[in-house]
């Protein structure tokens, strides 16, 4: 695996994680080791191999469209960091 082009700032940004300065150096070094090790899989020729997403076959499942018990709004919002009138309060996203 080409670790020299591993851009930790870009990855942290994509992952929505802010890295402190000391974390930055520390993770970078670890990723170099880990990605170097993961490079093992490049040794194999897998051109003719199908990818496995699930070990056992997984099919779409259909069921009757029927009404069942659901959580009450109070139960749904109990864990929300901020709520008002049975709605999640979120930061402003449009000006």
């Amino acid at each position: 695996m080409a670790t020299e082009d591993f851009d930790i700032d870009k990855i942290a940004k994509l992952a929505r994680i802010d890295l402190r300065e000391e974390e930055h150096a520390f993770f970078k070094k670890q990723f170099e080791t880990l990605l170097g090790y993961f490079g093992k899989i490049q040794q194999l020729n897998v051109d003719a191999v199908e990818a496995t997403a699930h070990a056992l076959p997984v099919y779409n499942v259909w069921r009757e469209d029927r009404a069942t018990a659901t959580l009450s709004p109070a139960e749904v919002f109990r864990n929300a960091p901020a709520q008002r009138d049975q709605q999640l309060v979120v930061p402003k996203v449009v000006d």
């Binding site: 994680i17 993770f27 990723f31 993961f38 899989i41 897998v46 990818a51 699930h54």
Partner: protein, 488 residues
């Protein structure tokens, strides 16, 4: 000499309850008292609520008086890894993010346990979001191994392993994504079963890597493992990956002796330079099975050396996607900022611990544009080869015998700063998750330092009964599972 209720197995307790020689309240109090006696040294539990648990025990006793017993689990305490939803109880997942979260609903496995009268007893410690092999990555506490307080109990279900070995609970539900049931079972000298992928509903299990995660039982002995597994196995319409294969009678299956089997020994699991004590213990288990009339055959799983790399690419990719839901908007922790992007960044940076951040970033990388094909898709292709290795081996043998872990429990702090060393510890367990097959770990010996050694039996899809039978035959002729940890 067993003089306390907490020293008995769940099966023994169930018999005592059935013959009315004790009550669920007495049984439950015994475990609560033993927990309170030891918890200051072990830190197995993230939370427990004796009053809530005792009220379930009293309800069970009431049912028994009225002749309305719901089965062999009625009145028996069961503890839960703190990543499985239990209505109105805390669900921290070992994470600061979820510190104040309470489950709004029951996981299917919890619903099943409640329907069978089990007494839910406490929430057990784990590596944050089940990511780790030592339970040192819990945001709240490090759990100590009752066989040696300076050593880890394994992980990520380390709280389960320690609590069972220390007799704080008779048995527990854990989850296994790459060995998280089997490795702590091995480190703590107990039994742990990872079922076939799809055998047990994942509904209500906080997702780490959805194509690998399975809930399974951990217990002092094989009989109890079968008892708890029986209670949770089966199709669930709330989990579209659960499968509707028939469920055998696992506890009854133990009574029959297994027919002669062809037992495969994968040579890649016994490399040159492996830990001598682990090798000797597993080899003597192999000799035992041979003496019992089973045929021992050397087999090869040639892609074993790629398993760790494949596992940590696939699992981190799935984790980065599953954990995207923790954005500071819906679940408990939100960093106070006026700008939505700042809320995402700061909530995640404050809420997640180091190992989780590491895995999210690795997963983000292998899924990112330009690397997706070369990393993620390629890993999934090698996953196919690993799966095919097992299918091929199972053409000639019925089960595989291996060590569960390359070593006994390591010291707290020994691998925490070296993630690759920590990951390599999972070499014997991750492949079963990648292939989807079941595996069980039972104690098969002790090191000179008196640390337990685990034997793993891997089987074909849905052949858990066979694994339990073979484990039970071994256990019945040995006393490793009845030895008490120094702190218990």
């Amino acid at each position: 000499m067993k003089s306390q209720l907490y020293q008995l197995s769940a099966t023994e307790l169930s018999q005592l309850l059935q013959s009315k020689k004790t009550s669920s309240e007495e049984v439950t109090r015994s475990f609560i008292e033993n927990t309170e006696r030891l918890e200051g040294k072990l830190h197995s539990f993230i939370s427990y609520d004796p009053e809530y648990t005792l009220s379930q025990a009293r309800a069970s006793d009431q049912r028994r008086r009225e002749g309305k017993v719901r089965g062999p689990l009625d009145g028996i305490p069961v503890s839960i890894k703190d990543i499985i939803s239990e209505k109105d109880q805390p669900l921290t997942c070992g994470s600061r993010f979820m510190k104040d979260y309470r489950s709004p609903y029951d996981a299917t496995v919890i619903e099943k346990l409640k329907a069978q009268g089990a007494v839910l007893w406490g929430r057990l410690n784990l590596d944050e979001f089940a990511m780790g092999s030592s339970t040192e990555h819990s945001a709240f506490q490090i759990t100590h191994n009752p066989w040696d307080l300076a050593s880890v109990p394994g992980g990520s279900s380390g709280g389960c392993g320690a609590a069972i070995a220390a007799q704080q609970t008779p048995f527990a539900l854990g989850s296994d994504t790459g060995g998280s049931i089997r490795q702590p079972a091995a480190f703590c000298g107990i039994c742990g079963l990872k079922p076939t992928y799809g055998r047990v509903s994942r509904y209500g299990l906080t997702a780490f890597a959805s194509s690998l995660d399975q809930i399974g039982p951990m217990a002092k002995c094989v009989e109890d493992t079968a008892l708890l597994f029986q209670a949770i196995a089966g199709y669930d319409e709330s989990d579209s990956t659960s499968l509707s294969e028939e469920i055998p009678h696992y506890t009854q299956a133990l009574q029959a002796s297994p027919s002669p089997k062809r037992i495969g020994i994968p040579k890649e699991y016994f490399p040159q330079g492996m830990d001598t004590e682990v090798r000797e213990a597993v080899e003597s288990a192999i000799a035992f099975y041979q003496k019992q009339g089973h045929e021992i055959v050397e087999v090869t799983l040639p892609h074993t050396e790629y398993a760790i790399a494949v596992y940590y690419i696939v699992a981190t990719a799935e984790a980065s996607s599953n954990l995207a839901r923790f954005d500071g908007i819906r679940y408990t922790h939100r960093s106070p900022h006026s700008n939505a992007i700042d809320v995402y960044f700061r909530s995640r940076s404050e809420g997640f611990g180091e190992e989780v951040k590491r895995r999210i970033m690795l997963g983000t990388y292998v899924l990112s544009s330009g690397y997706y094909e070369a990393q993620y898709i390629r890993a999934q292709k090698v996953r196919t080869l690993i799966r095919q290795d097992f299918l091929k081996a199972f053409e000639t043998v019925d089960v595989l015998l291996t060590p569960t872990s390359p070593t006994t429990a390591f010291k707290i702090g020994a691998k925490i700063e070296d993630p690759l060393a920590m990951y390599l510890n999972d070499i014997y367990t991750v492949s079963a998750n990648l292939a989807g097959i079941p595996g069980i770990s039972i104690p098969c010996g002790f090191s000179k330092k008196n640390l337990p050694i685990g034997l793993q039996v891997l089987g074909q899809f849905f052949q858990e009964a066979e694994l339990l039978q073979l484990a039970y035959v071994f256990e019945s002729s040995h006393d490793f599972h009845v030895r008490s940890a120094p702190l218990s």
